[in-house]
């Protein structure tokens, strides 16, 4: 392969990896935007979503892209329960407290999953495994293209939901001014629970896409993607969904570029090096405003 196709290959991997980060970061952003809660255990919802999809797939053999919907619905429920039982009682007691609580959630979800599914690495073969589509000099797996389309559909759906529906507008209102939203009669606790559930559903979608792309997964897979998603929303600006999309794509590209140039071991470290370097020069993030 010549240099150009290597570059294009990395670009494509980066885009695909970026899709998963975008979904994760957008979910976090939604939760942070509305509740101002730092849910450090967000990656655990990705992991649970991945396992639900994989389990249903192993049992029924349905197309995993269809199971994605089931996984998302299940995670709305799990997210709602976690919000009601864990985050609501400590709302407003400080960001660090939320992080500490998330550590408890991480312990519970990771090891609960290990009790149910075992802690071995697993993988799933997508029904489109092995099918590639030639684009120029590249042959791109069909799954990668479906993943990008699915991500685009989910994000467009979320955009329309937030802009056009009453519930979506109530969520944006709560996000902008919680007290004001209460004054105009919005039940902010209901909005909290819906936002948290939706954020978790986006994590489930990310987990499903992780699984169908053929990547291995185990109960402890979630922590690092979650912190990377945080790095993305810190870089992209808190509460900004376009920022999360740009940040997610950049992170995917940087990671795959680094893995290619420096070796796979640097894949995780490079995203944090970027985070630290950016924060040295801009302590509120690349596009961060006063809210950070």
């Amino acid at each position: 392969m010549d240099n150009l196709s290597v570059f294009l290959q990395i670009l494509f991997w980066g885009l695909y990896a970026g899709c998963i980060y975008i979904l994760l970061a957008t979910g976090l952003n939604l939760i942070f935007g509305v509740m101002k809660v730092v849910n450090f255990a967000h990656g655990e919802f990705l992991m649970i979503g991945a396992y639900i999809t994989a389990t249903v797939f192993f049992l029924t053999g349905f197309n995993p892209y269809v199971i994605l919907l089931l996984s998302m619905v299940a995670l709305v429920g799990i997210g709602a329960v976690v919000e009601r039982l864990c985050f609501r009682p400590i709302l407003g007691t400080g960001k660090l407290n939320e992080i500490f609580l998330s550590i408890g959630l991480i312990y519970i979800f990771q090891n609960g999953a290990a009790m149910i599914w075992g802690d071995a690495w697993q993988s799933v073969k997508s029904p489109y495994d092995g099918i590639t589509i030639p684009i120029g000099s590249l042959s791109v797996p069909l799954d990668y293209i479906i993943i990008m389309v699915v991500t685009a559909v989910i994000l467009s759906g979320l955009y329309l939901f937030l802009k056009k529906t009453t519930l979506g507008m109530q969520m944006r209102a709560t996000s902008q001014n919680r007290k004001g939203a209460m004054l105009v009669g919005i039940n902010v606790e209901r909005i909290d629970i819906i936002s948290f559930g939706l954020g978790c559903a986006l994590a489930a979608a990310a987990g499903t896409l992780w699984v169908v792309s053929g990547q291995v997964f185990n109960p402890y897979m979630g922590s690092i993607p979650a912190v990377k998603a945080f790095a993305i929303i810190i870089l992209g600006g808190l509460g900004s969904i376009p920022g999360a999309i740009i940040g997610g794509l950049l992170m995917g590209l940087a990671e795959n570029g680094a893995a290619f140039l420096l070796g796979g071991i640097w894949k995780d470290a490079v995203s944090f090096i970027i985070l630290i370097v950016v924060l040295i020069f801009r302590p509120t993030g690349l596009f961060g405003g006063k809210e950070g």
């Binding site: 400590i90 960001k95 408890g104 312990y107 519970i108 470290a269 944090f272």
Partner: protein, 329 residues
């Protein structure tokens, strides 16, 4: 009888010291002495994390300083042939220096940005250890580390236990002194209200860096002690688990208090080993997670506040009772 915290402190301290000194006399079982050593090291580590949290900075990557202290001490001891009793402090000094560097990037950050940066930092250090620094550190395989007390000396386990006990007491005493001093007051002032602290002439940047350096130093001592006790070092030391344990200990015991890390570590270690005896594996972590969440929601000041909390609950109960009786009639 009023069980105030002030009355409990001297009794509690004395009891803890007597038990700590007596453990090797109470049992011949070296497994328990070994466990007690690891518990003491965890107490130092948790206290170090607690000191940083006392200044309002929450680190999610303290395993980095734990590991740097351990690697620093091991490499200095192995290369120069100095006794580990000296190198643990040299390794910790390396950790403190790195702590100041990472602190410099963090001082201007929001509390939870800082949490992300420290978490990422531990991963960066681990990556460096197994890639660029691998010729020195042995990569993922690790390297042997000189023992604190050579196993050829008779009764070396007891010597080691008392040496580590002394260092633990010294560390806690040092943290007590820092917390009581003007430095500790400055930490508190910055944590509670940075603007007012500034108005009072406290330079937040300087004190935050100082907190980072002190906390990293003490964490480095803990890491070095653990590795010289075990006799082998691997990059697993930088794992996420190792960053989360001190947080769990401190939150359960009581954040920002001197006794919190000690009580939290002792209670959780005993619980952890007790659960191990029942043969469960993953469920142990689930239990710890549930306890952590329940503590944060229902006992936000940790176990140290339990006596006061219980009195409060009893008081509230007594006030309620006549009301319910009246309602029943």
């Amino acid at each position: 009888m009023q069980l105030t915290r002030e009355k409990l402190i001297p009794y509690g301290t004395a009891a803890a010291l007597i038990i700590a000194v007596a453990i090797p006399f109470l049992t011949d079982n070296m497994f328990i002495v070994n466990l007690a050593v690891l518990m003491l090291i965890s107490i130092i580590f948790a206290s170090a994390w607690n000191l940083l949290a006392y200044s309002g900075q929450g680190s999610l990557g303290h395993a980095a300083f734990f590991g740097i202290g351990a690697y620093g001490s091991t490499l200095i001891a192995a290369k120069l042939g100095i006794t580990p009793f000296i190198t643990i402090f040299l390794g910790a000094a390396v950790a403190a220096f790195i702590g100041i560097l990472i602190g410099l990037t963090c001082v201007r950050l929001k509390e939870w940005f800082l949490a992300m940066v420290t978490f990422g930092f531990a991963i960066i250090v681990q990556t460096l250890t197994v890639s660029v620094l691998a010729p020195m550190t042995g990569g993922w395989d690790g390297i042997p580390s000189p023992r604190l007390v050579s196993p050829s000396i008779p009764g070396y386990q007891l010597i080691e236990y008392y040496a580590i006990l002394l260092i633990t007491i010294a560390a806690i005493a040092a943290i007590w002194y820092i917390m009581k001093s003007r430095i500790g007051l400055a930490f508190l002032a910055i944590r509670e209200n940075e603007t007012e602290a500034r108005a009072a002439g406290i330079d937040p940047v300087r004190y935050r860096l100082l907190a980072f350096a002190l906390s990293a130093f003490i964490a480095g001592v803990a890491g070095a002690l653990q590795i010289h006790h075990i006799g082998y070092i691997t990059p697993e030391l930088y794992g996420v688990d190792n960053s989360f344990w001190p947080i769990t200990y401190v939150i359960l015991g009581g954040l920002g208090t001197l006794a919190g890390p000690v009580i939290g570590t002792v209670v959780l270690t005993i619980l952890w080993e007790g659960l191990k005896a029942t043969g469960i594996t993953f469920a142990r972590y689930v239990v710890i997670g549930v306890i952590l969440i329940l503590t944060i929601i229902f006992l936000p000041r940790g176990l140290v506040s339990l006596p006061e909390q219980v009195q409060e609950w009893i008081k509230r109960r007594k006030q309620k009772e006549p009301v319910t009786e009246a309602a029943a009639e």
